[in-house]
């Protein structure tokens, strides 16, 4: 248990969830760049290309681009491919809207060392109400 790491987090959307980490420093959009039916990222030239986000705790810098981002996320949720939780360093209202409407726990972590300290597949618990992200 020596390897447990904790990050202070600000609650954005309430809830608690656990899942394997999927992590990138890139900014992400959910419309066009994902396949909602398969639950995978499918945009070439992006770091998470080909990876499944279903049940994952997604850790990335922020949302970006299309106003359809919340819609893309909703299509994935409706197809049974919701991510467990979202951890962002910066806040884009479109991601917040998507998480709010589909009740996906979301927090903001300000410490960028999370990118060095967490690796893909680590089990991560996001507890928005307690304001923490626990790894390990």
């Amino acid at each position: 248990m020596a390897d447990i790491k904790k990050f202070k987090a600000k609650k954005v959307i309430p809830g608690k969830a656990t899942g394997p980490a999927l992590i990138t420093r890139e900014r992400i959009m959910f419309l066009g760049f994902i396949d909602p039916k398969k639950g995978i990222f499918h945009a070439p030239q992006t770091e998470l290309y080909g990876k499944s986000f279903r049940g994952a705790v997604l850790i990335y810098t922020s949302g970006k681009a299309s106003s359809g981002g919340a819609r893309g996320l909703d299509l994935a949720v409706r197809a049974g491919n919701a991510p467990a939780a979202i951890v962002n360093l910066e806040i884009d209202p479109i991601t917040v809207a998507g998480c709010a409407f589909d009740d996906i726990p979301m927090v903001q972590v300000e410490d960028p060392s999370i990118f060095d300290q967490v690796k893909e597949g680590d089990m991560v618990t996001v507890d928005a109400d307690k304001g923490e992200v626990i790894v390990g």
Partner: protein
């Protein structure tokens, strides 16, 4: 969030299920964004392309909707009266040329049903990604709820209207209720520069303005850029700039001193803020952006697309292509709004463009037409475009090879059939 008595009654269900859900969702969203109250809006820009898509804004959530559920939401929508000037973003087909673009009749019928419902409840189904040029022009200080990542940027930055970067859902809920959570761009203290972008090269072509936008969004991510040494732009250039910025970025507002109404000078744009960072857009940076947006660009081109040209741009395209022919192995698809196409037809630009073999579509963009594949996708192994936004997204959504360059180069490619 503090709610008024009227709002509390809506939550209690006094105005029906749809408005109740809309407000509950806006409260969740507003609370997350730190808003303490709602403010009235007078303008909205939303998505309303087909009723099965509109229905996704309502429960049940977490699973796909049945036809009966979609029909029920459609009937409930007909009873709602929207009291906000509301336009609709790109549709999923061209209402007049749906067969030419490969859509089948069932898609056409579902779009026309949405048109009818929108008209009944007071929404204007314009299917335009440039509402700020024709049908929905908010004034300075007007509180709005706009989706479409380039247009909300334009109205904040160039018109001085006030809108957050709304999702399609939140903008839709806001038009139904006539209110939006009061945070971000609605608060004057947030409308000031955070980062400086210093222009150190010539911006010759429209696509150079797209490259600058891409550079800005990519460099800053989230923030409010202020431009220094930027030559005075015209509306077409600002369009390119705004649409490209929010391909790699999530920027609510940009400030061009001397052009943006809230930034008469560079100092006024920052209003006492110290820039977090300064980014230099020089020849090297410009070339880097062109290199990153072009992908395996040489060879035969299947489709050339211009995204949302203004009437003036259509007049220039007509001039450039007059008396010439688009190569038989390729397609030149010019995609604009219905009101601009209508003007182009009245004046005669449309005839000149179509005589060349080019196709003039309205009601949407290549991306939204084909992202969810409501129509048979055209061959798009290699696309040429003057739009940085389309170049960026078509590579990642359609996996196409991309040529990104000026309108002039794209027309040469259309005539030659390749790069």
């Amino acid at each position: 969030m503090r709610l008024t008595e009227v709002q509390q009654n809506i939550i209690n269900g006094d105005k029906g299920r749809l408005l109740r859900e809309a407000l509950i969702n806006l409260v969740k969203y507003g609370t997350a964004m730190g808003a303490e109250e709602f403010i009235p809006i007078t303008s909205a820009h939303i998505a309303f392309s087909a009723m099965d898509v509109v229905a996704l804004c309502f429960s049940p959530r977490g699973r796909e909707l049945t036809k009966a559920e979609i029909d029920r939401i459609t009937e409930e929508m007909r009873n709602i009266k929207v009291n906000v000037r509301t336009t609709v973003n790109s549709g999923i087909i061209d209402r007049r040329r749906w067969q030419q673009m490969g859509a089948d009749e069932s898609i056409y019928n579902s779009v026309m049903q949405a048109v009818e419902v929108a008209r009944e409840c007071g929404i204007m189904p314009t299917f335009s990604i440039t509402p700020h040029l024709t049908d929905n022009i908010p004034l300075m200080g007007e509180h709005c709820a706009w989706a479409e990542s380039g247009t909300h940027l334009y109205i904040n930055s160039i018109l001085g209207a006030q809108s957050n970067r709304e999702s399609y859902e939140s903008a839709f809920y806001s038009c139904l209720l006539g209110i939006t959570p009061n945070f971000g761009m609605h608060l004057d203290e947030n409308r000031k520069g955070t980062d400086l972008v210093d222009i150190q090269c010539e911006l010759e072509y429209g696509s150079d303005w797209g490259a600058l936008g891409y550079f800005t969004g990519d460099s800053i991510g989230i923030g409010i850029p202020v431009f220094k040494n930027l030559k005075r732009p015209v509306v077409e250039q600002v369009n390119q700039l705004c649409f490209a910025t929010n391909s790699p970025g999530a920027i609510p507002m940009l400030l061009i001193p001397g052009v943006s109404p809230e930034a008469p000078t560079l100092e006024a744009a920052f209003r006492g803020n110290k820039p977090r960072n300064t980014y230099f857009f020089d020849d090297k940076a410009k070339q880097r952006i062109y290199n990153s947006l072009n992908y395996n660009s040489k060879g035969e081109v299947d489709l050339i697309s211009f995204r949302c040209p203004t009437l003036y741009e259509l007049s220039k395209i007509a001039k450039m292509i007059e008396g010439k022919k688009v190569h038989k192995n390729t397609r030149l698809c010019v995609m604009t709004s219905d009101s601009i196409r209508h003007s182009a037809e009245q004046i005669g630009y449309a005839q000149i463009i179509e005589d060349s073999g080019a196709e003039l579509f309205a009601d949407g963009t290549l991306l939204i037409f084909y992202i969810n594949a409501p129509a048979k996708k055209p061959k798009m192994n290699r696309i040429a475009t003057n739009s940085a936004k389309l170049a960026f997204a078509a590579r990642r959504s359609f996996h196409s090879n991309i040529f990104f360059g000026s309108t002039e180069r794209c027309i040469e490619i259309a005539i030659k059939g390749g790069v």
